[in-house]
Amino acid sequence: MTLPGINLNEPATDRLHRLLAMVPWLLNRQGVDLEQAAASFGVSTEQLEADLQLLFLCGTPGGLPDDLIDASWEEGRVYLSNADTIARPLRLGVDEALTLIVGLRALAAVPGLGDRDAVDRAIAKLEAAAGSLPGALSDARAVTVDLADQGEVPHLSEVRAALEDHRRLHLRYVVPSRDETTERDVDPMRVVSIDGPWYLEGWCHRAQDVRLFRLDRIEALSVLDEDGTPPAQARPRDLGNGLFQPGADDLRVSIDVAPEAAWVVDYYPTESVEERPGDVSRVTLAVADRAWLRRLLLRLGAGAQVVEPAEVAADVAGAASAALALYEES
């Protein structure tokens, strides 16, 4: 028996966690829409119905109908009753409290992120709620996240204001891989921070596509007196695998990386990494931009040796000898 959207391999304790949170949530929202409830718990409606069916079988000892939890979900509205013993959510676990407290403290340290007052109030209430956890607060201080690079996120408040007011932005923006400054109009979609820097994601009218712009590479920014609603085809990209997303047309480059250049593996998504004798890793990268690749290989110096293709090795060697010629002249 398989039903769409039901995870039969879900561990029992994961499901129990959800049920124990679901009961108080539903008790406080009698008649809530079934789909809304499913979305709030990140499950399909089929899974939610299976969960409700399971709740229906549980209750206080005795097993009489009066002892059991009563759940109904006719016509897409959920009602729940007779669940007094588990009417309150389970207190926060260590990891749960940790994520929220660490996350809030990281947000609080970002200037220009907005509602600092609400963040401070939320931290105070959360610390009170998690207070019964032994050591939870000091534990949360043992894990710290810096989202703001020492309190400096240029242009963040201007970009956020433009997002809120749906206004188009004009940017003077440095493209490091081509080492040039460009001018463009952008309809802002969101500001994201991932692996350190903050980016504006928006519809770029010059590229006619969605682009990410690193806020610290924006030389100048002005808010235009024009509607900045992105076109319907503008879709935010999924950043689950980081910023660099290999394309099918990308050039596949294989390089041998010595330990001093091994940071490349941490920074860029690799198609494969193979350990070789002598502490060397053979790394395959997907590269869309040859100028970017040339710069990367110049940067790595002897730490990286191109295995293939040969034309990449020749290109880098040519750029390196042109640079060395300058040093010989001067």
Binding site: L8, P11, A12, T13, R15, L16, L19, L20, R29, C58, G59, T60, P61, G63, T85, L90, R91, L92, G93, E96, A97, L98, T99, L100, L104, A106, V110, L113, G114, D115, A118, A122, K125, L126, A142, V143, T144, D146, L147, V174, P176, T181, V191, V192, S193, W198, L239, P259, D279, R295, L298, R299, G301, V316, A317, S321, A323, L324, A325, S330
Partner: protein, 335 residues
């Protein structure tokens, strides 16, 4: 192995187990007095069909799993007519999340804090925490945070173990790769974790060197192993992992570099320059202050023939060496 005589369960095994655990939780919350195993077996229907040993084993496992979930299941001595016996219950006040009245804007920032973990190994706990806090029925007001999407990622495979070690104050052992020094085995009493410039760092007392040290989690090779008991050392009370990482990574005093940069090139260098002087051949001379020589050498080399280092000599030599390296070992073996 003997086959079970029991008929095929109508529901998947995990559903039967969830049902059993939930009934156990309810029974132990419902009772005012601790329940003996006999009474528990009676109260939870799923235990009825089992033999003594099978029941004892299953109950032990169930009890452990509930505790691992953070459910405060306590063991108490009960006076019976004959002798002391162990009983079990869950204290309702210990169980429940304390009453927190959250305002809509507070829910909104909490929800953003939760979402920052959505691409991380802690995504599950972060989402679950939010559902507990939202149980009271306050609807969030997200307007002020629309379009803000910071992400805290945990791509380093060692993150979970490192976090558990920090929270549990438990010594660890791991192989660590550091530049040209290669890979060595290190012993650490972990103090804290900090994410800085998009990477996780582990701080602690390095047992081999008998000194505080910072480790980049991404340079740990293979699994992190336990190397002692939880709670077997004390973390300095004023320890701030982020401050320690910042100090370690960027505390060197600044040095001034003088560069010649081709007109129109070196955009990011120009933005950081403290002075720019135009030369008559279309090039510019830039003054640039830097703290990390290693990072700057790579950046300058990446510009190829667009940037020439004039001062200091050590930086110039390092860039030349880097460029020679980029020529390739075979071609660049000129003296």
């Amino acid at each position: 192995m003997a086959t079970s005589k029991a008929k095929q369960p109508k529901t998947p095994i995990s559903a039967a187990k969830t049902e059993r655990l939930l009934n156990l939780v309810i029974a132990l919350l419902y009772t005012r007095q601790a329940l003996t195993k006999v009474r528990i077996r009676d109260a939870v229907e799923a235990y009825h069909g089992l033999g003594d040993e099978a029941f004892a084993r299953m109950f032990e496992r169930d009890k452990d799993e509930l505790r691992a979930m953070g459910i405060p299941l306590v063991t108490e001595q009960i006076d019976t007519w004959f002798e002391d016996e162990e009983g079990y219950r869950i204290d309702r006040r210990e169980y429940a999340l304390p009453e927190v009245r959250l305002e809509p804007d507070e829910i909104a920032v909490l929800s953003l804090a939760s979402r920052t973990w959505s691409q991380a190994s802690l995504a599950g706990p972060a989402a679950r925490a939010m559902r507990k806090l939202e149980a009271a029925g306050v609807e969030r007001d997200d307007r002020s945070l629309l379009g803000v999407d910071p992400q805290i990622r945990t791509t380093e495979p060692g993150f979970e173990r490192a976090k558990d070690a920090v929270l549990g104050r438990r010594p660890i052992r791991f192989d660590y790769r550091k530049g040209a020094a290669g890979t060595t085995t290190r012993h650490l009493q972990p103090w804290g974790l900090a994410r800085w410039h998009g990477r996780w760092y582990l701080t602690g007392h390095d047992v081999d060197r008998d000194a505080p040290r910072v480790f980049r989690l991404g340079r740990v090779v293979g699994p992190i192993q336990w190397a002692g008991r939880a709670g077997s050392y004390v973390v300095p009370p004023d320890h701030d992992p982020l401050a320690m990482v910042r100090t370690e990574q960027g505390a060197a005093p600044a040095t001034r570099a003088v560069l010649r940069v081709r007109g129109g090139a070196g955009q990011l260098l120009r933005r950081r320059a403290t002075a720019t002087r135009a030369l008559d051949d279309g090039w510019d001379e830039l003054d640039l202050d830097y703290t990390s020589s290693d990072a700057l050498v790579g950046e300058l080399a990446s510009h190829g023939a667009d940037v020439l280092v004039l001062e200091p000599p050590a930086l110039r030599e390092a860039v030349v060496a880097r460029l020679r390296g980029a020529l390739g070992h075979r071609d660049g073996r000129t003296s």
